[in-house]
Symmetry: C2
DNA sequence: TTGTAAGCGTTATCAC
DNA sequence: GTGATAACGCTTACAA
């Protein structure tokens, strides 16, 4: 592999000058620049990244830490992050974890030792404190889907849960559905809480009594959604003409439970989910679309900016959501 | 950030000795080792990776290049690669591309400049020659899903297309289906060709005449599958009791076309796909399962081994596939 | 078992 | 505009 020094020898210039043209400095005579570039091409010279990092104290890479990446949902986020980093000519160091311990290990390996310039953390269940304790104090970090609306220490990118839920409920009202079931996630889940709040607002804006709704709670899984619905339907005189499940897997469970119980969708019961995942799209389920690619893109952009000018206060970006009307609420 | 030198000062030892304990050499007295480790802990010392790379000429990172990562399918592969690299204490540098040009750029950025020790390339449509021209001659590369069974230059990890198709067809025979439709991918597609060969073998092993099958061809998409099926069904006297589509998206298209035409599955027509993607699992479609995580894991393992001992001939690993029987072939 | 010292390939600060 | 030269933080012969 050719080195900077080889280029110097070939051109008769110093390392300083050659380095300048590599880094696009304007303090180089045009003819000199061209001479250097030709030499680099002829030698097939590629700057050694390790040396650049060591001397320049920057890695030109962003680290990403994800929980397991089984579904296409996280893949979308990763895609957005990749788009942003590539546009800036940066690299992406990824790491997945399956346990809290692995997460801490990943944090240290990526943040310490100068392997990355900034970190994007997806959906991690760690407090600001816990994160801080693992890493250097002013290391740039961006959180996606933090468990609180904002963080006093880090940038946060989240989605507009409330607005999504608001529009979902309003759509149900427009369809003249009166007996709504809200199937929420775990009570201590931040997203679920926000979605519930959005739903409540839709009720009050419509002048309806929120206490008329049936609130069901489960664990955000297909099985949970199905189980919750079955239990409800097997009760005495179940009254319903619409279900709004707070994520798509639960909504799919609801759909199957409904079908097995002989209800038809959307005639008897309208169903709305939240996420807009691959299956929802395929079967034509009305749901709240969450633009995961955009979430990733914004998070990475934030990380990149902060690595360059780590001065400003932590900011929070909320990505808009939108209702996608499909078959399960009567759209054709 | 504390440096090696700080640890030396604190312990009164030389850089050589401290470096030895960092790298787990056994040529260090046990008491010394402990002294060093305590000092490192107290100083919260983390080796600077750039310096290690520069001095040691290895990066401890594997590079991965993927085509777009929209679906959960590639995500599985990535997951497998991550598992393997993490087990070996290595890092993962990922890069996605959306055009051939981006691919070449990615190849150079990851392989040149000593950013990675080895590369895993997923499903790239480049010839050995084209790859070689972009990178250093003996840079370790592992190909996943190469367009030919083997490569003379690189390691290849592929899936057992033929066996998967073989079992799919045999299953149809067991169900006494006689009028099979095979919906293949593009004729020049390697996977499709292999699957077709497997199907043909099932016919000859069963003593059946392969020329009795109806061969349809399309482009591996949902729309393509649906269109192909609709065209066939609208022909005069369509005769069929089973369809084997060579991937899941097309099979899903077939299913919808069948339904719209009033056929019932599996009573009138049995349907089998290939891939076992998320949607296939959800709707209960019989299909050939492709263990993508394993594919990724094996590929990464190969890459890791080759970076350490780049001597042996390129090898080819074929990952087994298996038929998953579900509702669309009458399984309950 | 431990220490000395020469790189590794850049960047960046001064001079000129 | 260009050139010396000192870092950057580590690994690794080679000596001791």
């Amino acid at each position: 592999m050719a080195t900077l020094y080889d280029v110097c020898k070939k051109t008769g210039l110093s390392t300083a000058t050659v380095s300048r043209v590599i880094n696009g400095s304007d303090k180089v005579r045009e003819t000199t620049r061209q001479r250097v570039q030709r030499a680099m091409k002829e030698l097939n010279y590629r700057p050694n990244q390790a040396a650049r990092m060591l001397a320049g104290k920057k890695t030109d890479t962003i680290g990403v830490i994800f929980p397991e990446i089984n579904n296409g949902f996280y893949a979308q986020v990763l895609r957005g992050i990749d788009d942003a980093t590539r546009e800036s000519g940066l690299h992406l160091l990824t790491s997945f974890y399956h346990s809290p311990n692995e997460l801490k290990g990943a944090l240290q390996r990526l943040a310490a030792g100068g392997r990355t310039d900034a970190l994007v953390l997806m959906n991690i269940g760690l407090s600001d404190q816990q994160i801080q304790s693992q890493i250097d104090d002013d290391f740039p970090i961006v959180l996606i889907g933090h468990s609180a609306e904002t963080s006093t220490a880090f940038d946060v990118v989240g989605i507009d849960n409330a607005k999504g839920a608001y529009h979902a409920v309003r759509h149900l009202f427009e369809l003249n559905r009166e007996n709504l079931i809200l199937l929420t996630g775990p009570a201590d889940n931040f997203d679920s809480t926000q979605r519930l709040e959005g739903a409540r607002m839709a009720f009050s804006d419509a002048g309806k009594d929120f206490s008329t709704v049936t609130l069901l709670e489960d664990d955000f899984t297909y099985e949970g959604g199905k189980r919750a619905m079955e239990t409800f339907l097997s009760g005495k005189k179940p009254l319903l003409d619409a279900v709004f499940a707070f994520n798509d897997p639960m909504a799919l469970g609801v759909l199957d439970a409904l079908q097995e119980a002989g209800y038809s969708v959307p005639e008897d019961v309208a169903v709305i989910g939240f996420d807009d995942n691959e299956i929802a799209r395929h079967i034509g389920m009305t749901t709240v679309h969450v633009p995961m690619r955009d979430v990733g893109y914004e998070a990475a952009t934030l990380a990149i900016r902060r690595k360059d000018e780590n001065t400003r206060h932590p900011s929070t970006i909320t990505i808009a959501t939108s209702l996608v009307k499909r078959r399960t609420t009567g759209e054709t």
